[in-house]
């Protein structure tokens, strides 16, 4: 069976041994051969010594979802060796270090073993223990280049670029690369049937993780103040933002910073800093994960009630509580949509890939300032920290920020009276604000306590309710401005009648969902697919749900949080929305969706084989 440009490989490593750069080398070389590719990292909440896996999926069809079966596994970690041997699909290959004999207990007779004495080869060539460990990784990259027909010149070029300033290092890496490559060529029948062939499908594309794209979005949106507290998997948002600011945000005349990034003492403070800065008219944001969102609840309610813009990037991880910090999930939907005590509702955006992380981060600032309220960008670990092949990010130089209704000194002077903060409602329920320092007549008091439309403290029921009702109108009004859902109809997006079954999803599951739609169709189950991109829901969301006999809401949490929110905010009967929770902590795989939908539809499951193996994989990983 030939699987040209359609296979998955898995690297089993020990964290802290430098394997990431070797794995990345393979990923990039494949990408440069024009073949669609994605990489996912499964790492422990630890710095050194624990098992870590990296998976590369090569897909000529451009599927970016998690591969659930592995054609080849590189077993570099003795501790997980037994598990890794079992994770190879039937008929697949296992690459191992044959410096040491393979235990007969680990033998499977339905896979092939590729033994390369990596340690022995590297010990002969490199002197220091650290070099030997590092070069072992490069050596297996060389083996893979031979096995999969990866153009070794592409790998050479990547090494030359990486070590442009240290040519000696580039040379020793190339030696290690050849070491593996030559050994494989000599001892195995290269290439394997799971191999590469040049394509031209990666032009105009880049390899990027979502957190970097989010940081770029914040940079391009004009954010100047950022406050944060370190947390996995959101830390790299701020790391990237800092790096981009240092590169692009130095004042050309003075060399000083056109940004202020504060590492806060906790997430409560981070949120407070964002509010203080936004109140003062700067674009400000924070990045965090679920535990941080829990702590930010208090001031999110404040921002909602006092109507202060704020942008919060939530890179979701597995909850509840500390949960599994290095695993992905979509379980912060409800806590973000309804954050804080009292009647509160927020705007939440759901990017599904790095491109949308970039675009929706910019949109978040515009929405936050237009509606003077917190806006969440709900990313997740899979989007945020994994390597995605993504269309090149585009920027429209005519873009100018939507600063919303902010009155300057002149406008306040024209009022002919003292400025009143919450009284001149527009058609979307938004009122004008002023910034401190502008004019004495513009002054008002920002408070989280009960206030009337003049911004004055009140305990009078009618006055209190008047403001609360407007806030509700304002949130509903935002539904007309947020990104609309992406709908893919089985009959094309023309006037064809809807399918019986609607699939609904959000966020990073999209890659697997699109693949699942194709696979279901191939099995004869025709579906329409809607990916929700924002809360409050655009009118299109309810229309889609209404026109399908049944809607399967696929989301990566236990309790069907998106479904719950739909039931709260639409008139759709419960019976029309079926929950499909897939929330292991791993990114969604198309086979998981196909499997679940088939079961719910009472259909036969896809033929065993790959699927049986996937279940093994899941069990082994968990």
């Amino acid at each position: 069976m030939s699987q040209t440009n359609d296979f998955a490989i898995r690297f089993a490593n020990v964290n802290g041994t430098g394997s990431a750069s070797a794995n990345n080398l393979i990923l990039r070389a494949i990408f440069r051969m024009g073949v669609p590719v994605s990489g996912k990292n499964y790492f422990p909440s630890n710095i050194q010594g624990l098992p870590t896996w990296y998976e590369i999926r090569v897909s000529k069809d451009g599927y970016m979802g998690r591969a659930a079966a592995f054609d080849l596994v590189i077993a570099m970690n003795a501790e997980t060796y037994a598990r890794d041997v079992r994770s190879v699909r039937s008929g697949g290959w296992l690459l191992h270090d044959s410096t040491w004999p393979l235990s007969p207990a680990l033998k499977r007779d339905d896979i092939q073993y590729l033994g390369v004495p990596l340690a022995q080869l590297c010990n002969g060539l490199f002197d220091t223990p650290r070099d030997r460990v590092l070069m072992k990784n490069i050596a297996y990259a060389g083996v893979l280049a031979a096995l999969h027909d990866i153009d070794i010149k592409e790998v050479d070029r990547l090494l030359e670029e990486q070590y442009a300033k240290k040519p000696a290092l580039a040379d020793s890496n190339k030696i290690a690369l050849r070491l593996g490559h030559d050994y494989a060529t000599k001892h195995f029948r290269c290439p394997l049937p799971v191999r590469l062939e040049r394509m031209n499908k990666t032009g105009e594309h880049i390899l990027i993780d979502g957190n970097s794209a989010t940081a770029l979005g914040c940079l391009y949106a004009g954010a100047t103040v950022a406050a944060w507290y370190p947390i996995t998997p959101a830390t790299s948002v701020m790391d990237s933002f800092t790096a981009y600011c240092k590169k692009f945000r130095k004042d050309p005349d003075t060399g000083k910073n056109l940004f202020c990034i504060v590492q806060a003492e906790d997430e409560l403070a981070a949120m407070g800093m964002v509010l203080g800065a936004s109140w003062n008219g700067a674009r400000a944001f924070t990045s965090t994960a679920g535990p941080g969102v829990s702590l930010m609840q208090e001031l999110l309610g404040f921002a909602y009630y006092a109507e202060i813009p704020a942008v919060l990037i939530d890179v979701q991880r597995t909850g509840p509580s500390t949960g599994m910090p290095t695993r992905t999930q979509q379980s912060d939907i409800l806590i973000c949509a309804l954050a804080s005590h009292g009647d509160t509702k927020h705007i939440v955006l759901f990017p599904s890939n790095p491109t949308e992380c970039f675009e929706l981060s910019v949109a978040a600032f515009d929405l936050a300032e237009r509606f003077q309220t917190p806006v969440f960008v709900l990313s997740d670990l899979d989007i945020g920290m994994n390597d995605w092949m993504s269309p090149e990010l585009k920027w429209d130089d005519s873009y100018r920020p939507d600063r919303g209704r902010v009155m300057g000194a002149e406008e306040v002077a024209k009022l002919g009276k003292k400025f009143q903060r919450y009284s001149d409602e527009d058609s979307e329920g938004v009122t004008s604000r002023t910034l401190p320092g502008v004019d004495p007549r513009a002054a008002f008091f920002t408070r989280g306590s009960g206030h009337n439309k003049f911004g004055v403290y009140t305990e009078i029921p009618e006055e209190y309710q008047e403001v609360m009702e407007r806030l509700s109108r304002k949130h509903k009004g935002a539904a007309g401005r947020v990104p609309t859902p992406v709908i893919r109809r089985a009959g094309g997006n023309g006037k064809s009648a809807p399918a019986r079954v609607g699939l609904v999803s959000l966020g990073g599951g999209d890659a697997a969902m699109n693949e699942a739609v194709d696979r279901l169709a191939a099995q004869g189950l025709v579906t329409d697919y809607m990916r929700v991109r924002a809360y409050p829901f655009s009118p299109e969301v309810e229309a889609f749900l209404a026109e399908h006999e049944v809607n399967y809401v696929v989301e990566q949490n236990r309790d069907g949080q998106l479904r719950s929110l739909m039931l709260l905010d639409t008139e759709i009967p419960k019976s029309k929305l079926k929950s499909v929770p897939i929330y292991s902590g791993f990114p969604l795989a198309a086979s998981e969706v196909v499997d679940a939908i088939c079961k719910l539809e009472g259909r036969d499951l896809p033929a065993p084989g790959a699927l049986a193996n996937e279940k093994d994989t899941k069990r082994l990983q968990a």
């Binding site: 594309h205 880049i206 692009f248 407070g272 800093m273 320092g437 004495p440």
Partner: protein
Amino acid sequence: MSFIPKPVARHPGMLPNKIGLTLRDYEGSMSTLCAGCGHDSISAAIIQAYYELDMPPHRVAKLSGIGCSSKTPTYFLGGAHGFNSAHGRMAAIATGANAANRAINYIGVSGDGDSLSIGLGHLCHAIRRNLDIMYVLENNGVYGLTKGQFSAATDVGSRSKKGEANVMSPIDPVILALSLGIGFVARSFSGDKKQLVPILKAAIKYKGFALIDIISPCVTFNDHEGSTKSYRHTRKNQLPVLQSDFVAAGDQEITADYEAGSTKRVKLHDGGEVVFRKVPEDYDPHSREKVVDYIESHTRNGEILTGLLYFDESKPDMHGVAGTVDEPLNAVPYEKLCPGSAALKKMQAGLR
């Protein structure tokens, strides 16, 4: 938080300051605190200080947390934007506000519950960052708005209104701040406006974190026999160690007031001066170790040392450390912030 309109009162003979404003222009709305509350005296001193400094009220931003003290920004500087935030969070919000606009003056008002319990972490870290703010801690040693619980500033042995004695050690914000490397720390008494106003003026002009711990008796819950933060106890035990004056840049200084040999002068960044007078021989307001020793030795004797206790203007503020541009970030035009499409394209060439 008053919704009672404040009666317009004309003060005959009230002089306009250099920018043509009278004291009335620095007032806020009517106080709703208990009659005789120390906090109202502090508000009056704050009004006086800004008035004397000729500062336009709208160039000040006033922030607070939650509690009786945190209500007071409503009662002064009606022409300034106010931010009555959440309990304990004022320092964090002020940090963000200052990050966005370094060009306006910040006053934070808080109490001992707000600052020393629920917001203690934020206070400490704002001091560490040397946030440019005057932080007024109106310290009454009690939770007033929730009716009389002990606070973290209640002294050991101090009794509640019901007679219960506190046994837990208090947090002394002055000692705490000194341990965190603060550059300006003072203690005063709400009943001593003469001492308080010059301290406030120096704090407003100080570039960095200026903490003023002001003993401010709670007439309703903590002004009884057995309380160590009552008017009577504070008056009896207050020991004004340092008297300071503030001389604004360019002001004609009247030197006749000062006895020769007993004054110390410190220049502020904008040319103003803090003048200490009647400094005890064994006191050095620039030596952190000596100041800590001096305060603690008097605290042991039950004395409340007041005055501008420690002063150092050599440390850079938050923006100085961060290397931020001089112009406020909220005023930087977008065109200067966005790298544009060409830079994005170029940057992405490295992502292949």
